[in-house]
Amino acid sequence: MPAVDVRLLEVVKRFGDMVAVDRLTLDIQDGEFFSLLGPSGCGKTTTLRMIGGFEEPTSGLIELQGEDVTWLPPFKRNVNTVFQNYALFPHLTIYDNVAFGLRRKGVKDAEVKRRVTEMLELVELPGFERRKPTQISGGQAQRVALARALINRPAVLLLDEPLGALDLKLRKQMQVELKRIQQEVGITFIYVTHDQEEAMTMSDRIAVMNQGHIEQLGDPESLYERPSTRFVAGFLGISNLLPGAVEGTDGSYATVRMADTSSVRAPSALVGSHADVSIGVRPEKIRLREPADRTPDGHNQITGVVRDASYLGVSTQYVVEARGGARLTVYEQNVERTTRAELWAPGEEVLLTWSPDHSFVVVDQPTPAVDGSTPA
C-alpha cells in the first residue's frame, strides 16, 4: 500500500468573512497524479498555496510525508511549485533559473551543471542555457518552470493551472508531456485546474471542489460514470438528470418513479436509503429507437419528441423532450446505425433507452437554501 505523501486535516482558510477553504480533509498518495478541479473561486488554488506554504491556514493541519509543515515557510518545505504565469526570473538566464534551487542548497558547481543539463534534456530544451526568459516562447517557458521545480527532487510538485496561458494545441501536447515526465520522475504531482478534460486526461485521482469543500473524490472514470452530486454531474461533461421518488428495490436495481409516472431503474447500491433522488444518464449512453421498437430486456425506456438535432461530425447531438417535459441531451455516434439508417428529425417521436447500469444517482442537497449546485 502506497504511503500518504500529503495529508490535509480539517483545513480552513478564511479571508476576512469569506471562507475560501472549508474543513478540507484529504490524503494524497505517494507518486500519485492528483488534481484539484473546480470553477474559479472554489478554493483549489488556496489549497495548493497552503500546501506550498504561501498561505497559512486559519485552522487545521498540513502534513508532508508524516511531518507537520502547517507553519513552515515555503523555503523549509520539500515542495516545489510550477506557477500559473511561470514566474521565471527575468534577470537570470535559463541556466541560472533552473540552477536557482540547487545553488540555495549549496550544491557544487560541477554537480549543478550536470543536473541542469540533465533536467533541460528531460524537458527537451537542451541548448537553451544562455537565453533569457524573454527570448523563449510560452511553451518553452512552461518547460523551464517545470525543470526549475523538478531539479530539486521535491517530495511533491505543485502545479497551479500551468497550461492556462498556452493555446489549445500546445496545451494538449503539454498534457501528454507532463504525464510522461511525472511517470519518469515518479514524484507526486498536485495539479490545480478548472479544465475537466485536462484533469481527466492526466490524473490518477481528482478531487472536484466547490465553495471550499470537496464535492467528490475519485478516479476520472468513477467521477464521470457515477457522479454523486448535481454539481459534479454538471461540471464534468453533460448530464441528464431526472428527478423522481424511490419506489422499491428489485434485486440489485431500485425502481424510481418519475414525475410523468413512467419509471426507470438504477443500481440500488447507488440509491441507498434515499427516498427522493435524481436519476442521471450521460448523453452518449442513451439509444434512440422507433417508438414501436422493442426495448432490450431490463433497459430503461422513456418516450419523447426530438426538438433539435445538430450534426457535429463524429456524432449528432439531439435535444429530446420527454413526456414529462424534461429535456434530455443525446449523442449518437455517426456510424452505421443499429437502430435506424438516417438522422432523426425534429418533431419525430422517439423511444430513449439505456442500461440501468449506466444510470447514476444524484441526491439533492437536503437544504436547498444553500444551493451550491449551479456551476459557475
Binding site: 506550498g52 506554504g53 504561501f54 515557510p73 515555503p74 523555503f75 515542495v79 516545489n80 511549485t81 506557477f83 504565469n85 514566474a87 521565471l88 526570473f89 527575468p90 534577470h91 536557482f100 534551487g101 540555495r104 542548497k105 537542451p126 541548448g127 537553451f128 542555457e129 544562455r130 537565453r131 533569457k132 527570448q135 526549475r148 521545480a149 530539486n152
Partner: protein, 319 residues
Amino acid sequence: MSATPEVAPGLAVTARRTAGRGGGVLRAFERWGVPLFTAAAIFYLLIPILVMIAFSFNDPPGRFNFVWGEFSLAAWGNPFGRPRLGDALATSLVVAFISTVVATALGTLIALSLTRYQFRGRSATNLFVFIPMATPEIVLGASLLTMFVGTATEPWRTLTGGALFPLGTQTILIAHIMFNISYVVVTVRARMQGFPRHLEEAAMDLGANGWTTFWKVTFPLILPGILAAGLLAFSLSIDDFIITQFTSGTEQTFPVWVWASIRNNLPPQIHVIGTMVFVVAVGLVALNTILTGRREARDRRIAQEEAAGARKARLAVPE
C-alpha cells in the same frame, strides 16, 4: 440615365484629388514639419547650454562674464582659480554623495515597506512623503533654519550636543537627505508597484529565505529604479540653492558660492565648471545607452546561436 455616368466619374475624380491633396499636406508635414519642429525644440533647450559652453572660453572685458571679449583658454587652464571656489565645489560633491547614499538607502526601505506591508500609519506615511516636495523650498529652508537655530537654546542644545548649531556641512546634509528621501520614495515606489510578487514566491519556493530572496531576486529587479532615484537625488542635491542657502551658515556649496560671488563679479570659471558637469552627465547617459545596447545585442546573438545550434542538432539526429 445618360447623364449619370458622366457626372459620377467627375465627382469621383474631384473627391480623389481632394483626398490626394489632404494626404500630401499630411505627408509633407510628417516628412518636414515634424523634424523641423523637433529640431527647433531641441535648439530651444540647448541655447542656454551652448551659451554657457561658449562663454567658458571667454575673456570678459570686465568683472562680469556677460559680454564677449575674446577667445581664451585661461579659465579652463585654471578652473578653480577663485577664492573658495574649489572648496565650495568639494562641499557640493561631498554633500551630494552622502545625501544620495543615505537618502537612497532610507527611501528604498520606506518604498519597500509602503508597497509591501499593511501597517498602522501607512496611508499617513504615503501622504507625508509628498510634503517636502509640495512645500515651497523657501519655506522649508526658513523652517529648517528656525529649527537649527532653536537648538542653540536649552534644553535642545544639550539634547543635540550642540551639533546642529552653528550651521555647517552637517545641517546642509540633514536638509538634503530630508528632501531627497521624498524623491527616492516616489521613484522607487513607482518601480515597486508593478513588481511581480510571484517572483519572490518562486524564489522562496526554491529554497531562498527572505534575505536571499531580496538580494537574488527583488534587488536586481528594482535596481534600475534605485539607480534612477539615486541619480535624481544626486542632481537635486548638487543643484540645490534655496534650502542650502538657509542651512549652510558660513559653509558654501557651489550654487551658494556663485550667488555670493555674483554681487561683485561673475568669473568664466563658473561657466567652465557648469560645462564640466554637463559633459560628465552627458557622458554617463551615453555610456548607459552604449552598455544597454551591447547587452541587448549580446542576448540576441546568444539566442540566435542557440537556435542555430538546436537546428543543427535536430538535423544531425538520424530519423
